[in-house]
């Protein structure tokens, strides 16, 4: 079980968190300006690297705050983003 570094509460057991996928995918400023392909790219496509990966976590059974961490997907080592 991962030890997730919540920036507000400190390291806590993974079971207190929910996972939010890749970090840094901003909601487009004007979605209506995107064509179907660009919108689908935003909606569905995510990176899947082996190695460091910036991702979102939510301390759902804690302070309920969202935050980003960098996880090495090969070793599961977590670092503060």
């Amino acid at each position: 079980m991962l030890l997730v570094p919540c920036p507000w509460c400190g390291p806590r057991d993974e079971v207190e968190f929910s996972y939010g996928g890749q970090a840094g995918i901003a909601y487009p400023a004007d979605p209506e300006a995107l064509d179907d392909a660009a919108w689908a790219d935003f909606l569905f496509m995510r990176d899947n690297p082996k190695g460091p990966f910036a991702e979102r976590w939510n301390h759902v059974y804690g302070c309920r705050r969202w935050f980003d961490v960098v996880r090495d997907t090969a070793t599961n080592d977590l670092m503060e983003a």
Binding site: M1, L2, L3, D13, E14, S18, G20, A26, Y27, D30, P31, E32, L34, D36, W39, A40, L43, R56, N58, V60, R64, R65, W66, T75, N76, L78
Partner: protein, 896 residues
């Protein structure tokens, strides 16, 4: 097989009584069940699971493949190796042939406790290496937890060994005493580390206490001092009772004072076998010969000088005996065969460092040629492996199986009764990978999870394929390291503690009224309120009729409620909902859909504008938590600048819906200062005031299509107001109704339940609810997706109504819908959709249903078939497709 007059760590003055297979026996304090069985002549009392061959105790540890028992007292255990069951007075056990048996009904699974621990250093294994590591950590000032699956500390330390100048056992005692005296050091024998997980999380199963315990340990450092298991060698008849690993022979002699045979042959691939040979001879048991696969070795010369007979460059090729071994057949370097009478064959095929915990958390393996075994390699930096587990084991000549024409009695996995011939057959099918061979032969999948057989199986594969030793390693390892019963992992979290149960403030009133409850998420809600002798449908239809013709009331407190407060609350809600919540006047209410980014319906509910900067939004009963989470996610991650706060107030409010033509009279009669008249209190507005003497908020919303008021009061007033409304409603025949009637009433009106009529693939347009989507107000979550090509297809599934052609047939919810030409066809047939909701109805004169149907709005008036069985024609029910609003489509009833 007998107890020696002296020696070992057993207490000869403390006899313990136990039963085995229903008969009484005696052992000593300090015994395991296996050692007690051996000195009672019961070491051979086992059978193999598939072939039914006689089997005996082969090891003295957790790798035991043969001596499996069911323990019935003092604490039930489905299946355990006798080598790992500490003998206690009153123990009752029986042999099992590889497959455990669940206790019958009525046998309560013993409970287990769970506890958490945080330490700097966790040591797995209490042998010399583990105790040394624990001592070093304690001297650093670490909090230390040391666990060992055996009931004693010291592991396989031998009385004749010397550690740091002390006899090994004395060193173990002294070190353990030192550790027990240290602050923040805990020693846990009889405790198995089941698995090592990310970030130093280790799950430990402690068995020595009256109530078993599961420890959830978070350790900064984990030291694996798990030792090494001796490896068997595959030769003809190597499964016969009396064939025992040499280290086990030593353990029974040295620790338990038990002589496991009267006349021994030792078969060894290194120096280890000589330790057993000397110990046997010292205990008075003649050693006929040491059969050593090596052509020459120093150990051979020393043994000969001591008067032991050594046969160098030889192997044990077979065994003889009726049941137990009576002779070993030795094949010499020249091929000549000699028959040696013996009732014990002590086998040493080398050592397998116990690396399973390490491998399961990402550690690798490296083949060590000199020791003919895999040793740990790499792994997380917070794990260190020490001692025999790290590969500190004696050099060994590789010898996996003894070549022969017939390999069908060369056993590799004794728990699966799989032989070298079976491995060869698996390779004959074309398999090459050890992992594939495992899946075909099931080697390594039994209770012992391949501890004794895994490395051997891999090397047998290598040898049969003509690859060198170590070409393929053993199969992957996964937790748990030892089998563990589910009831132990479940611990106290079962029955009433399995999940939280939420009850409304009015719940006791429903219980007193005899409600039948259903679980909605974690909530318990009244399903219906049966009167004497009423069936479910009788009660539901009576409750529906009351709402349609008089008045009913339902406890709607489970409705999710969220207050959204702040100057930007209107903007925020405009972005979260399909409707323009910012355009609501204070006092108004609007229904809205909440969409996912993909444009699919996520939840629905109403928003009440309480003030310029304040809204109360409601959610579905099951959706409250995920809606609040969705609000928080968008607010925190996309629009942190919006001044809005979201607070769950579900449990602060009790909500009672009063529905039916007489609803106004009931409220007036209950005493309210709110003018509930048609003119003063329009549909989709709310008013603050008092009812039955307490502050209340009344809202005119309707989920039944009838005139209805939601009465919101503080949670602690819920029961009082429920009783007051019930009393005030008596003259009007007020009828409490449950979720059963609520569902029928809403479905008659074509009102959806998110999660029942939708499933995450349904858009507002699919539901015929484009009217609720405001495309003029600007962006909101999901808006852009509504233009995606796939969401504009004409053959999407639409919400429709279904009326069974035979008017008394109830369509099963979930039934697949097909076209007439496929009503009788064998599957597979094209499926046009499925039934989402199906009920009986009094006002409609029979059953009806809602369904999602491909191009459904173009099929009104046509007939589809609901397939209800495996494909026979009788099991298809014909139904006419209709619009999904069955009752009062013009909405004439909502104002009473």
């Amino acid at each position: 097989m007998r107890r020696l007059p002296a020696g070992g760590w057993v207490d000869r003055s403390a006899p313990l009584r136990f039963t085995f297979g229903g008969r009484q026996y005696q052992g000593l304090r300090g015994d395991t069940l296996a050692s007690a069985l051996l000195c009672n002549g019961l070491g051979d009392a086992f059978r193999s699971p598939v072939l039914g061959r006689p089997r005996g105790v082969m090891t003295a540890g957790p790798e035991e493949p043969c001596a499996l028992v069911e323990v019935s007292a003092p604490r039930f255990d489905l299946i355990a190796p006798a080598t790992m069951v500490p003998l206690v007075d009153g123990l009752a056990a029986a042999a099992v042939a590889g497959v455990g048996r669940l206790p019958g009904p009525g046998v309560e699974a013993p409970g287990a406790q769970h506890r958490h621990a945080h330490v700097e250093t966790l040591v797995v294994g209490g042998g010399v290496a583990g105790l040394g590591a624990a001592r070093r950590a304690a001297m650093r000032g670490d909090r230390v937890l040391l666990v060992d699956e055996r009931s004693w500390l010291g592991g396989t330390a031998r009385s004749f060994e010397v550690v740091e100048g002390l006899p090994a056992w004395a060193w173990v005692d002294a070190t353990a005493a030192e550790l027990r005296a240290a602050a923040d050091v805990t020693l846990l024998p009889d405790s198995t580390a089941l698995g090592v997980y990310d970030a130093g999380y280790v799950v430990v199963h402690e068995r020595s206490r009256p109530v078993e315990r599961v420890w959830h340990v978070r350790a900064r450092r984990v030291v694996l001092a798990t030792g090494a298991h001796e490896r068997p060698i595959a030769f003809a008849g190597n499964d016969r009772p009396g064939v025992m690993l040499s280290a086990a022979v030593l353990t029974y002699l040295d620790r338990f004072g038990v002589l496991p045979g009267e006349r021994a042959v030792v078969f060894t691939t290194g120096d280890a076998g000589y330790l057993a040979a000397r110990a046997l001879r010292q205990a008075g048991s003649p050693v006929v010969a040491v059969v050593d696969v090596r052509l020459q070795a120093d150990a051979q010369r020393r043994a000969r000088a001591d008067g032991l007979q050594v046969i160098a460059g030889a192997v044990v090729a077979g065994t003889e005996g009726a049941g137990r071994v009576s002779a070993a057949v030795v094949a010499g370097a020249d091929g000549a065969r000699t028959r040696l009478e013996a009732d014990l064959i002590a086998v040493s095929g080398g050592w397998n460092p116990v690396t399973q915990l390490h491998r399961a958390i990402g550690g690798g393996l490296r083949y060590a040629t000199d020791r003919s075994c895999f040793v740990p390699d790499g792994g997380p930096d917070w794990i260190s492996v020490v001692g025999a587990a790290a590969g500190e084991v004696p050099p060994t000549e590789p010898c996996w199986y003894v070549p022969a024409d017939d390999l069908s009695e060369h056993f590799v996995d004794l728990q699966r009764d799989q032989t070298v011939a079976d491995v060869a057959a698996a390779l004959g099918t074309g398999l090459r990978s050890v992992e594939h061979v495992k899946r075909l032969t099931h080697i390594g999948t039994a209770v012992d999870q391949g501890r004794a057989s895994g490395a051997l199986a891999a090397e047998v594969v290598n040898q049969l394929l003509g690859a060198g030793p170590g070409a393929q390693g053993p199969t992957n390892a996964r937790p748990p390291w030892s089998p563990v019963a589910y009831h132990v992992l479940a611990g106290p979290f079962r029955g009433a503690l399995f999940d939280a149960v939420r009850r409304t403030p009015i719940h006791p009133a429903h219980v007193e009224r005899g409600a039948v409850f259903e679980h909605v998420g974690q909530w318990m809600r009244p399903w219906y309120f049966p009167r004497d002798g009423e069936s479910m449908w009788d009660a539901v239809l009576r409750e529906c009729a009351a709402v349609r013709t008089g008045v009913g009331m339902i406890d709607a407190s489970t409705l999710g409620k969220i207050e959204v407060v702040g100057a930007d609350a209107p903007v925020f809600l405009d972005r979260m909902y399909s409707g323009a919540m910012s355009r609501l006047e204070v006092g108004q209410i609007r229904y809205g859909l909440m969409l996912g980014l993909d444009g699919m319906v996520f939840d629905d509910g109403v928003a009440m504008r309480l003030g310029s900067d304040r809204y109360l939004v409601t959610t579905t009963t099951g959706g409250a938590a995920r809606v609040l989470a969705r609000f928080e996610e968008w607010h925190q991650t996309e629009w942190p600048g919006l001044r809005a706060h979201c607070t769950s107030v579900t449990e602060q409010w009790a909500t009672i819906a009063v529905a039916g033509p007489s609803a106004r009279e009931v409220l007036r009669s209950a005493g309210t200062d709110v003018d509930v008249s048609r003119a003063a209190f329009p549909f989709m507005t709310w008013r603050d005031g008092r009812i039955a003497g307490v502050p209340a908020r009344l809202a005119r919303v309707s989920f039944s299509g009838e005139l209805a008021f939601e009465v919101h009061v503080a949670g602690w007033h819920g029961r009082h107001v429920w009783e007051a409304l019930l009393e005030a409603g008596q003259p009007f025949g007020i009828t409490p109704y449950g979720t059963g009637a609520m569902e029928v009433l809403r479905a008659e009106k074509g009102f959806i339940i998110v999660g029942q009529d939708t499933d995450g693939t349904v858009t507002p347009d699919d539901l015929g609810m484009s009217w609720i989507v405001n495309m003029r107000k600007g962006d909101f979550v999901g808006r852009r997706s509504l233009r995606r090509a796939d969401l504009l297809r004409r053959d999407r599934r639409h919400l429709v109504g279904l009326l069974p052609v035979e008017r008394d047939e109830l369509l099963p919810e979930g039934a697949q819908l097909v076209a007439a030409e496929h009503a009788r066809a064998s599957p597979p047939v094209p499926m046009l959709g499925h039934v989402t909701s199906s009920y009986r109805s009094a006002v409609l004169g029979g059953p009806f249903a809602l369904a999602l149907l491909s191009s459904g709005r173009e099929r009104f008036g046509s007939v589809v078939y609901a397939r209800t069985g495996a494909g026979t024609a009788e099991e298809a029910i014909a139904a006419t497709v209709t619009a999904p609003v069955f009752y009062d489509p013009e909405g004439a009833r909502r104002d009473g």
